[in-house]
Every structure is written in structure tokens, then in C-alpha cells.
Symmetry: D3
Subunit: 241 residues, 6 copies
């Protein structure tokens, strides 16, 4: 089985960190192919960047030549899942939904710990659309940028532990979702230190993608996510203009 | 006052139809500037196209050189408002929200009549995020494409009247929102024929944009829609690559 | 265009303050007619008073002889809109809905700052019925009475700034709605001081009423807000008994 | 124990029918005092009438001289409960809430069968505010007026049976609430014929009011429904002007 | 009239306390029969225990030989109501729903004060299913166990007063529901001390059960709560194995 | 890895069918242990049976002697998950949640096709508690009993295809969840015939349980689902009395 894991930003070191995380979660026999968009922001921390990166990921996926079995979209709280789901005839798993659905199996309420405060609303909107806002106790921010989170894992771990503690004590969370692909490296440490399940979206996404493939399930093509109707699209794909 | 009205597709005749509609609604002294994206789909009828056109609109707005006072995004049910709101320091009104908020002043429940069935879910999602799904009695589809709707206004009028009648009789709608910028030309005729208020998003959007400017109100910059943080963005704006 | 702005209490100085605010917002050529109910409370700060003033406003509007194009109901969080909408064949805009709908164009969540704590529940109920409770971050009270708010604008401004700051910092509000017609005078000052958009219901209501008139839209008469069925009504209108 | 049952319209025969229904439900030793407003509509079938009758009921209750222990407001889906609750220091039970809360004890979902279609939205709003809209399967209308319902009990029974059957078969209702005080006389017959529990608001209201009195419970005075603040109220009570 | 009040735990002194509370609330002529399950936990403080006690209560009710008119299930926030409702052809009132529905008549929002923090989620789930979560301001815990609450009424009273005060001041509650049958003894004292209505589920349950019987209403048998289909059930009733 | 799959009824042939389905879904190296409760109903089709079987499953799981890594509860729409989650320190996956969460990855809305109409409310309640009711387009019943569904797979397939077609055409479902463990055998056939993804809870549950084990995730023990407090429990486990 081959799973494409798409970083949503253009920073190669983040792609590599995501790839390693994905490999760790993959079953024997699963090949992970990590890709980086050809354009877009170095990190995604607002709606403008999120929309741009959604299109950049769609563009990048058009250029994947080798056959693959599923896609994992590795941007937490970002746009694009429905669009990619329309474009492909393979299962598409977004790490926001992957983490949130997995967390729901483990407790009554989960909290998300993410990068900047300004992204909390966007994350909440995604949770509302996938139906799981009522299971979400809170979205908490470390106020570290995406690139800082990935760069300084020690400080990341400390800040995440602080926010997780608040989430459990004050917000009533039973489970934590790491709200940024760049945080993946701290999941185990935080879980060990605080004693609550910590779900990382990338590993959850890989496991769910593998499950769908094994169960013979893929995106429904009868309704909202049917293939785009054939028509003139100027300048698409963008990276081949 | 100068208001930029952004068509979301690349079809010039649709831009012109939207422009005329906007001019009709504008107060004396308001100048309407209609723009067309430089890339993207000829019409927007699915999530993939919607995301792409959202970015194409953001790209196109970066290229507007003359000063303007507000922007109207003329794609019903499409993505992008939050991103444009971050990029600009002027009020940004999306015609989905414009039509829905206006409709709420006129009755207890509104229905949307749109182009293709497949877009209903996407429209419902936008209404849910802006909080007005509970005011929406139904989203009904004419099953005409966006370009057909704009092309054959007579048949458009007939189909809209049919669906409006169902919306009022079966779904309990008091008010109708036209769910496609290309339908704008039939609003008055339908309203006269069926006897329910028919809200067109483009005209509603222009009126709301003018109101915000006159009241000295613009997008909040303290929270979710603050300006994007400064950072490297590869290949942006796209049309200037 | 002539717009009737109805104060909901019997205090003439409040009517005059509302009138001035409305005039400021009106487009050139719009005439503002401010009216005061002939009976009811000197200020409206509870449900009993709100119901009484709703009827007093309906009564007062029956006595307006000159033709008019729209009505603005200038009581924040008060009852009556649906009843007035049934009685008249002109657009009716309530300042609660006007402020809330306008605020939604400017940010993700708004907070209301109002007079007394006890009125918060009533305001929340109105927001729930118009569908916008999910966009409301909080309803905060200055604990100043309606008449004190209108009387001592300096202290009003200080208290509003305090609560606005809490709303932004603690509740996650991006936008503020002033929750009392008597606060209108402080909108600009607070907006300048705190740097968040501050929406005053009276000016928003006038702008929306003008927009509806210009767009040829009025209350739907096919459903919930159809004219009252003809029947014997004892002692009505009350002021003509 | 003495319970005041307030008709919301000015039609004496409706007051008498409500009184008889209330007496039937009352425990031994409970005295029923039925009152009719001194002004307002002959029947209540829209929002304007509902607001007016709410105030007329408040006015009428001010004139009750003998001491009483609780009040039942006998208008289904009408406004006013919160206002009356503020004015009195005795328990106040509205028949909408009485019927809905009782119905919830008896099954998973209830339907309301009411008079005119146009009142359905108003009823739904009341259920939403008391929290029970999610327990409501449907609000169905007989399209008979309030006075016809009370006048022709045979036809009322037939029409109610028809709508109850639809509610059970098509809407998934387990329990029925009669949505008009004038329907009370058919409750037993319908229940016997269709075999589903039929809750009449007047009898439910009397039973709940008695229960509250016996348990020593009354309206909370600490929050939303505290007594109105002392102030000048012009022309109140209205019937004593 | 004979009402069976079922304790949900196996502790005889709790059954006796509940019985006394029920007797106090019962109308003249109502006989209270209090029963204790033959197996299960000494107190119910988690989901496992709640499920077990639900079945133990169903088992115990099968063994009640004398005819009875209604059942009150005296476990706050516990499972089982729908199952008992299916098994019996008499009204079944759960004290969670009894307290919550009664509280809704008395104010805009109620808070629950219960035993252990861990039970708050379970109580919230029950309120969500009965539709009243939106009326619930908060669920607060004394962090005293069920048996301690019943054992040391003085300390119980003190802790309840503390949490009630927080509920009113910080959470906006108008009314309090005692969230544990063992707390019943402190209702009057707390109400007197804090000045907010305090609803005890056992007394509310008895009053509602009596009301249903008197009004000739019982569980609907047409839908969700119809009698169980006839079939082989191994080892049932459990206590007769 | 060893996964215990618990049938919720006492019918051995159903356990065997579930076991085969689970084995089919299991990864190489995963051992499936299927267990049958020692008491309870031959099939579960109402709340009473569901509560009883929940306890019977808890009882049966206490008797599993060999170590295992996770549990799958194979009753669709049944009670018990939270109780089992408290009792065990391994991941517990209920097939209702497994199917629903998986379905959400594949489309915008799913429908459930189940056995008897009377179980629809119970299924809806479970979906509401796990947060996914808003993703559920409808719950449809074949009106075949659980044992008939498992017994006559051909007729089951036909009836499921009929209801799936309605779900897609009339209710707007993109994805189907089979709402009964006994239907598992028809999933592939229906998916092939109708062309929409069909999710079977047992296979979804096994895949999710394996994923959790592989990712090192288990039930949170800090909040709602902490281990039951130590205390006297009379007659437990029931099968060892």
C-alpha cells in the first residue's frame, strides 16, 4: 500500500518531520510518500494562507505520478479536504478529522492544543463542519508559531504540557489532539508526562487511511464530493502554467 | 465611494451581468468596479473549483491598483471570505452572507434556490458557519448549470418560480435567496410573480458594503481576521509568477 | 425616503438622542421621524416592561399619519418585531437584529455590551431566535441603568471600554454591539480607543432600512408575518380608547 | 389552594371552557378562578395579537384582588410568561411549557396539533426558547380558527385525529400536545381513538401549578425574572387609565 | 394511588431517606412503596454502576407484586428510564427529568449540584437527551460521595450552599436541581439560606407521577417505548435465576 | 495483537457471523476472540434489552481470562460503551461509533439502515451523544428483525438496497452505515450494486481498535471514564453469583 502524505506548507524540514512521523505509524508493507507544495506559505497560520495552501496541495497532488492508495492531508485545521476528495478517486483523510474522530473513541471531550491564538476560530469552524464541535472542550494556543513549534521541540513540549494541564483541569478535557503537524514529535512525551491520551493527527491519519484501504472504502462519488464537472479551467494546474 | 465587485469565475459575460446588477443597486455617487480572476474555472460548481476560485479572487484583488472602499465577493456559497477579509483593510461582503442576513430581516425562514444539487451541501456549510442554517428552510436546486442560468434567463425564471413555489408551500419559506450570481436578472420577475421577497446577493452585497462604509465600519483586525503574519510566500501572487 | 424610528420608552430625551443618531446615519434625502410611545415605562429593563413597550410601540405606529417607507424599532433586545412586521406593509428593522447582522460581516464573533445584568438572558433569547446566538461570544453588562447610560456619556464610555476589553481579551469577541439605544453616542469614541469595530443598532438599523427600501424588499406576507386576520379587538388602539 | 387560570382572549365562552377543563383537573380543595382580559383580540392567532394579549393578561392579573397561589396562562404558543413571572411572587405556568414538559415524560418525541398554519412558527419559537424544540417531531395545523375549534368540537375532534395520525405515522411522534386551549374538550376522545397519549395544556398546567405550590417552589427572583425595577410607568395598568 | 419509588443502589438507609422524602411530597391518599434493588452497587457514581443499577432496578420492579399506579426512578443522572418505560404500562418518572422539567418552570437557567466531578458528564448527557442541556447553566460537584452526602447532612448543606452560590453568581443559574437523591434532606435549608428555588428530584418526581396518574396519562406505546417484543431472554429476571 | 469482539445477544450463530466478519477485517497477526454473553436476550431490539445486554457484555468481559489488547462491542446503537470503557484499561470501540466516524471520512452525510423502526430513536440518541447526529441524513429501517436479517441474507440484501436507494435519493446520504451487526454479510454486495460506500460497524470497529493499539492510545482515565471507585457491589459479576 502506498500513502501520500501532503505537507501544506513549503518548508522541507516540516515535510521531513511529517514523513518520519507517518513512517512510524505505518503498518509493515505501507510505503509513505511525503510531498511538499510547489508554491504557498512557509507555514500556515491564517485563513488566507490556508486557502492558498489548500490549492497548492491540490496542485501538488495532480503531479504525483506513481499510483497511490490514499492521501493524508497534513495541515491541522486547514481548508481543502472536500476539494481534494472531489479530485481523487482514493480515500482522503485530513489530519484534523483524523485526530478528532480518534480522540472521540478515547474519552468524552477532547481539547486541541495548537500554535497561535488567531487560528483557534478556524479550527473550531472545521470541527463544527465535521460535527465534532460538541465533543471539543476547548482549543488552546501555545502562542508559538508553526516553525518555532517544529524547531524547538523541547520548548514545544513544555508549552504543550502547560496547556494540556489547563485543558484537563479547567476545561474538562479527557483527551488531547495536537493541533499542528509540527508538534507530532512531542506526542509520546506529553502523554507519558500528563497521563492523558495525546492524539497526533498525522499518525491517526495514516492509520485511518490504511484502514479505509484495507476495508475497501473510498470517498463517495454520488453526492457532494462527486468528481468536478468537466469544464474549462484557466491556468490549472498552477505549477504547470 | 468605489466598490470592487469580484466575479469568482473567469467568464467575462458573467462579470458584466454582475456589474450591471451591482450598478443598479448602487447609490448615487457609488462607482462599481467589476473584476474577473485571471485564472480558475469558467464557472464554480464544486468544492475544488470553489477553493481555486477563492485563491484566484484573492490574487485578482491584489492587482487592483486604484483605491477602493469595499469589496463584494460575488460567488454564492463559495469559499474565501475570511481570507480576503484578512488580506484587506476594507470591508468585505460575501453575497452568501449578504443575501442570508438581508433575508432574515424579511421573514422567519428563507430558502435558497441554486444551480446544481451537488452544491447544496456546500451552501449549507457556509450558512452553518455564519450561524444562519437555523433560519434556512431549504436549499433547492434548479439543476441548471451556472452558465445555463446566466444564458437563458427565461428558462431560469421558470425553473426558479417552480422551486420557489415548492419552497414556500412545502418547506415553509417566507423569503427566497437567489443562490447564484448569474440568477440576479430574474429576481424582480420572480418576486412579482410569486409574491414573496426575493433577495439577490449581488444587490444585497452592494447595499451592505455601502452601509458599512458610510457607518465607518470595517473588518475587525483584533482576532481571527487580523492581517496575515509576515512570512515567505512562494509564488504569490500567482498571476505575477 | 421617510423612516420612522420608534423609541421604546416614554422618555423624550432618549427619543431625541436616538433621532440625532439616526439622522447622522441617514443618507442624503432620507427623512427621520422619531416617535415616542404614549404609554409604558420610562426605560425598558425587564420582560414585563419589554412586552408593555412592544404593545405601546405598535399602538404608537398606528397613529403615524404621514406616509413612511420603513420602521426602525430602537429597543435593544426588546420584544415586538414580529408583531410590528405583521401590522405594517413596510420593512421593519429591529436594532437588535440590525446590530447583530452587521457585526457578523465584520468578524467571527461579536459581544454585546448592555445596561443591567438582568437583561442579558432576554438579549440572548432574541439572538437565539434570529439564529445568531452561535456568533455571540458574550453579553456583558455595565450595570448602569438605561437612563444613566444616556445621561452620563462619559461614565458610559468608560464602562463600555472596560467591558469591551474583557469581551475581546477573555471572550474572544472580534466585534462589539452596543446593547442599548442610549449608548449610541459613545460608539465612535470606543471604537477609536479600543480598536475594534463597534456597531450601534440605531445607525445600523437606519442603514439596513434604507437598503431594503432601495432594493424594493419588504416583509414577507406569505407566512408567519402575514397581516393579522380581521377580527374584533377590544380597546385597540389603546391610546384611542 | 386557589389557582388563577387566565384566558388570553376576550371571548367569555372560551374562558368558561377553559375553566371547566381546569376544574376537572384540579385536586380536591383547589379552587379555580378563571379570568378574561379586559381588552385585546377575540382570539389569538398571530404575533401582534399575542403581544397584545400578553399585556392584557398582565393587566388583568393586576386586578385580581383575592389572594391566590399560582397562575396558569392559558394561551398555547403565546408570549408573556417571563413578564408575568416578573410581576408576581407566585408560580406562573404557561400551558405551552406545561404540555411540552409533561409530554416529554411520556415518549421520545411529541407533536403539537394547533389551529392555523401561520401560528406554527410562533409555537416553534416558544419551544426553542424553553429548550424543547429538539423533542418536538412536528407542529401540525388543523387550519381551523381558534373560535371554530372551540365551537364545533365534533369537527375539531375529526381534524385533530387526522393530524395526530400523520404526526405518528409520518413525523415519528409518540405523544401529542393539543396546541390550543379551545381544543381541550377533545383530548380524551382523541387519546381513546388513536391510542397515543394526548396532553392538554390547561389540565397539565393546573397539575403543575398545584405541584409547585405543594412543593413550596416559586419563580426565582435572583436573576432574569426578578421583580421589575421601580420606575415611572405611564398609563399602567391600562384598564385603569 | 400507589407509587413505587425505586432506589438505584443497594443501601437500605438511602432507600429509607428517599421514602421519607417521597412521603413528604405525596398528596393525601397517595401510598409510597420504596424498593431497593437485590443486587448492584452500594452507591452509583459511574457509568458501569449506573448501567448495572438500571438493570437491577428493572429486575426489582418485576418483583413488585401489589398493583401500583406509577414509578419514580430515584437515581439522579442514571440510565434506565427508557427501558423501564418499555417494561411497564404505567407512567415512569426519572428524578433527573423530574427535577429539570420542574426547574424550567421557575427560571431561565438551572444548575445541578451533584456528588463527584466524574459524574458531571453523565448528567450532562442525560440532560442533552431529554433536550434540556440548553437550559442548564452548569453541573457542579461537591466532591462528596453519595454515601457521605446522605450521611453527613450538615456538611452536605454547607457544600451545597457553596456550589449554589457559585452557580448563581458565576454561571447565571436562577434555579438549582439537587443532583443526588441522598441530598434531598437539605433542599429546604439551602433554599431558605440562599434564596433561590431548590428542586429535589424525588419530591418533583412524586408530584409529576401523581399528576400523570390524575390526568390519565401514561407512557406512549406506539413508538420508541412500546413493550419489548416477545423473545427468549436467558436468565431474566436476574434475581430469580 | 488479540482483539475481543463481544456479541451483545445470546445467539451463537450471530456471534459466529460477527467473528467471521471480524477475522476478514483483521490485519495479519491479529487474533480475534468472539464472545457471547451468558445471559440476556436472543437479539437486542429495544431499550430494555439493550440495557440488559450492556450489563451482560460487561459481565462476560470480566470472565475473559487470556490477555487482550482491545475490545469491540458489536451491538449497533446499543448502550454500554462508557461502562465497559471504565471497567477496562484497554481501548474499547463500539460499532456504532466505529461505523459513524469512518463514514464521516467518506462523505458529507451518512444514513443508517437498521432492523426495526422502533430502534431508530435509540440509534439517533447514540449518534447525538457521540456528536454525529448532524452528519446523519436519516436512520431507515428494513422492518426485518435482527435474527431474520442474519438468517436470510438474500432478502436482507434486497431490503437494504431498497432503503439505501431511498437514503441516497430522498435523504441526501453520501455514505451508508449498516445498523445491525447481523447485516455485515451484505456490505460488499450492496456497495457494488448501489455504488455508495457501505460501512459495516464490525469491520470498522476491528480496524479502529487495531489502529488505537498500534498508535499506543487507550481510554482516558483522567475524567469521565476513570475506573469505578472501589466499593461493595452485591451480586457482581452476575454470572458468578
Amino acid at each position: 500500500m502506498r500513502i501520500v502524505v501532503a505537507n501544506v506548507n513549503t518548508t522541507g524540514s516540516v515535510t521531513e518531520a511529517i514523513r518520519q512521523q507517518a513512517v512510524k505509524a505505518a503498518a509493515p508493507g505501507t510505503e509513505i510518500v511525503a510531498v511538499t507544495p510547489e508554491f504557498g506559505p512557509a507555514s500556515v497560520e491564517c485563513n488566507f494562507e490556508s486557502y492558498l495552501s489548500a490549492v497548492a496541495v491540490m496542485d501538488r497532488l495532480q503531479a504525483v505520478e506513481a499510483p497511490f492508495d490514499a492521501v493524508v492531508l497534513a495541515g491541522f485545521g486547514e481548508h481543502g479536504k472536500e476539494g481534494v476528495a472531489e479530485l481523487l478517486d482514493k480515500p482522503v483523510v485530513d489530519i484534523t478529522e483524523a485526530a478528532a474522530h480518534m480522540a472521540c473513541l478515547l474519552g468524552r471531550r477532547f481539547s486541541v492544543v495548537t500554535s497561535l491564538k488567531r487560528t483557534r476560530g478556524q479550527i473550531h469552524d472545521r470541527l463544527q463542519l465535521i460535527g465534532l464541535a460538541s465533543r471539543c472542550a476547548s482549543v488552546r494556543a501555545t502562542e508559538m508559531t508553526v516553525l518555532d513549534l517544529e524547531d524547538d521541540l523541547e520548548r514545544t513540549g513544555e508549552r504543550v504540557v502547560e496547556e494540556v494541564t489547563w485543558a484537563v483541569e479547567a476545561d474538562g478535557a479527557d483527551v488531547i489532539c495536537l493541533g499542528c503537524a509540527g508538534m507530532a514529535g512531542v506526542a509520546e512525551g506529553v502523554q507519558a508526562e500528563v497521563g492523558v491520551p495525546v492524539v497526533d493527527g498525522v499518525t491517526a491519519g495514516v492509520a485511518l487511511a490504511e484502514s479505509l484501504v484495507r476495508l475497501g472504502l473510498s470517498t463517495s462519488k454520488v453526492g457532494s464530493w462527486a468528481p468536478p464537472p468537466p469544464k474549462t479551467i484557466t491556468g490549472w494546474p498552477i505549477s504547470r502554467r
